[in-house]
């Protein structure tokens, strides 16, 4: 029996010894197997990269959402921007919250992206963020018959002594400083289907003039010499020059008029376009037609329209 088993073992071993893998095949299989392992290595790296990217996107997305949610849940701060006697009107505080919450350039981007508001870069790192409201106080893009109020904040981001990012914001009637010129916002007016923000140069010892910034169509922005200066005023980038006059007294009437560019000779009798109490108002229940085009959520360079060099002043207009 033992001999039988040994005999079988011997024959089995010899028989299977003949089953040999060809060397070429053996090497080829080995190469394939190792290549597969290398592929798996690369695959692992790709998976890691994709997973890392997914995690980053997920985290950033959540951060954005949290920020937005915080913005929507907070109480609206009291700002100096008012709408005359309509402060008590119900309104959507979302935009106000966003304005109040802006602490950095990134916040500003979120604000521009997430709301119906828009952001203009007036100068490098100097922005104005603007929101419009309808008659019900709900945030909306400026639209004909709907836009009742505009609120805005000036924002500057830059490094100060400690090298930290800081911000400066001014709501509505606050003053702001740009280079050597102190600009005081004295309100906004509605002229020929466009919203205009009126700013007053308040620096001592320099010419006293107004900037009329066309919110609806920034390219129409213009400058107007203060009429009291009675000096030459030249319009810079539009065919229409506006002038601004403010009556004496704390609540003096703000008047905006227009000078036709090709009508230099006529210095009197120009039409008065808008006149209202200043500066204690922004815009209340004014109507805008065809002004929806101002809606933009991108940051645009508007500095040249407001503060850029090269502009000259045209002769002012007596009121």
């Amino acid at each position: 029996m033992i001999n039988m088993e040994d005999n079988i073992r011997d024959k089995v071993v010899r028989a299977y010894d003949g089953v040999v893998l060809d060397n070429a095949l053996r090497q080829s299989a080995k190469n394939k197997i190792l290549a597969k392992e290398r592929g798996r290595g690369k695959q692992k790296i790709i998976y890691c990269i994709v997973a890392a990217a997914a995690v980053v996107i997920f985290v950033l997305g959540n951060v954005m959402l949290i920020r937005l949610n915080l913005g929507h849940n907070k109480e609206a701060p009291v700002t100096e921007t008012s709408s005359g006697g309509d402060e008590n009107k119900s309104k959507d505080n979302h935009s106000q919250m966003f304005l109040a919450d802006i602490r950095s350039r990134e916040d500003l981007d979120i604000f521009a992206f997430a709301s119906n508001s828009y952001v203009l870069e007036l100068q490098k790192e100097f922005y104005v963020a603007i929101s419009c409201y309808d008659e019900n106080g709900a945030e909306c893009p400026p639209q004909s018959g709907r836009t009742a109020k505009i609120e805005y904040a000036y924002l500057r981001f830059g490094e100060q002594e400690a090298g930290e990012k800081t911000y400066q914001k001014n709501f509505a009637v606050d003053t702001l400083t740009v280079q050597d010129t102190a600009w005081k916002n004295i309100g906004a007016v509605y002229i020929n289907d466009d919203w205009y923000e009126v700013r007053e140069s308040a620096k001592e010892g320099v010419d006293h003039y107004y900037n009329i910034f066309n919110i609806t169509s920034p390219e129409k922005s213009s400058y107007a010499r203060h009429p009291e200066d009675a000096e030459t005023t030249e319009h810079i980038r539009s065919n229409v020059i506006f002038f601004v006059a403010q009556a004496e007294g704390e609540n003096g009437c703000l008047t905006v008029g227009r000078i036709e560019n090709d009508d230099d000779e006529a210095k009197t009798g120009h039409p008065e376009i808008d006149s209202r109490q200043a500066p204690d108002y922004v815009l209340t229940y004014a109507k805008v037609s065809g002004a929806a085009k101002i809606k933009t959520s991108s940051v645009k360079s508007m500095g040249e329209h407001m503060f850029g060099d090269g502009h000259s002043l045209e002769e002012g207009k007596d009121i």
Partner: protein, 151 residues
């Protein structure tokens, strides 16, 4: 496992696994594919081994499973063992291999594992998921069948 380790495992086991696959599939090409797939599966499973014995046993079981899967395919049922040529240089050994391959797999595989790989019936039982007694019975029956064939 790095490439060097895989390469070492491959060199240590490739012939063994190929023979086992051949024993199951009775065909060089299919045995080659099954052998490759066995190593692919090892990489895929990121398998690590405690010892050389563990490594050898795992590969044998894995190869067995792969071969059994192949054998369930309908087209496998018509493969003839006469198609194999160039197996072994000695005619007598080749003839014995053909006899072995004609045995039912339940006898053939334990005989291969017992007499070529040197496993005992208990170890074979563990690998094949059978009891020690079953394996011993199959070995006995296999030997009887082989004895009849070789006279």
């Amino acid at each position: 496992m790095d490439e060097k380790q895989i390469s070492d495992i491959y060199e240590r086991n490739v012939d063994r696994i190929y023979r086992l696959c051949f024993s199951y599939l009775k065909n060089k090409d299919d045995a080659f594919d099954a052998m490759q797939n066995t190593f692919f599966r090892m990489i895929q499973k990121k398998k690590t081994f405690d010892s050389l014995e563990h490594e050898k046993a795992w590969l044998i079981v894995c190869a067995s499973n792969i071969c059994k899967n192949i054998l369930t395919h309908w087209w496998r049922k018509n493969v003839s063992i006469e198609e194999n040529d160039g197996i072994g240089e000695c005619r007598e050994d080749r003839e014995f291999l053909m006899i072995l391959l004609k045995l039912p797999s339940k006898y053939r595989i334990p005989i291969y594992l017992r007499y070529y790989e040197g496993y005992n019936s208990m170890e074979i039982g563990k690998m094949m998921g059978k009891s020690d007694a079953t394996i011993r019975g199959w070995l006995k029956k296999g030997r009887e069948l082989l004895g009849k064939e070789i006279g």
